[in-house]
Subunit: 126 residues, 2 copies
DNA sequence: CTGTATCCGCCGCGATACTG
DNA sequence: CAGTATCGCGGCGGATACAG
């Protein structure tokens, strides 16, 4: 495992890195967990919005669209008034939940050790 | 696990979310993995820089500083010319490597399933 | 209720140049 | 080699208003 070792390198398009990027910047993992935590594995937009403190309607929609495009979730529109849209994990999404849950559990199990961590002083604005 | 269930909620400061945020935006996980992958568990700045394709010197330094402040890694300066600085995982960092490796491995094992995923078309700028 | 569109400030991050 | 300082752009993401 020397400096130049290919195995040691994080190629820009390597699989692990792709996974990591799925966690970055967005709410993907939290949406995944929320869906997974529900008995029927599905949730309406409003529920997701309320389950993710801090997310804006815009970001939720954006995230859901991306996840749908990636094949992680499915979107089912019930034609009715008022509208009712259900999001559900696809098989791929279901598999992806694994690592997410692992992380989630690890966080819970190590909550105390995390106290020392500075989660990022991303100066909350307003 | 109803909509309002506390267990279903992602409180802004909950442990799992703190962990997730460690993955967001930054190179933390990749630095962690790189250090972990090395025989002696340590690496010089230059090695890290070369092991992480795409990272800039600025981001590397910034990431390392934050990780040091969080207690994930230690920084050891060898007074010499030219300078030589070694970064090493602390105990906390060592423990944190677990979930990182899990993710890393999952990515490798599911590389094919990931082909359908759009890792985020963050338009690379020149 | 679900979703779209627009405006816009903030800051992440690369590029570059300089110090020890 | 390791690190800091500065500049500048792009886009993330919130706030708000509007539509079916």
């Amino acid at each position: 495992m020397q400096p130049g070792s290919p195995d040691d390198q994080w190629r820009e398009d390597c699989a692990p890195r792709r996974v990591l990027e799925l966690f970055a910047t967005k709410w993907t993992s939290m949406v995944l967990h929320t869906l997974h935590a529900r008995h029927d594995g599905a949730a309406r937009a409003g529920v997701l919005l309320r389950s993710l403190p801090g997310i804006s309607k815009k970001m939720l929609t954006q995230t859901l669209r991306e996840m749908e495009a990636s094949g992680l979730i499915s979107r089912l529109v019930h034609s009715a008034i008022p509208p009712m849209v259900e999001y559900r994990l696809t098989d791929l999404g279901q598999r992806f939940v694994e690592p997410v849950e692992l992380l989630y559990a690890w966080g819970r199990d190590n909550a105390d050790a995390l106290d020392g961590l500075v989660p990022r002083a991303r100066s909350r604005r307003a």
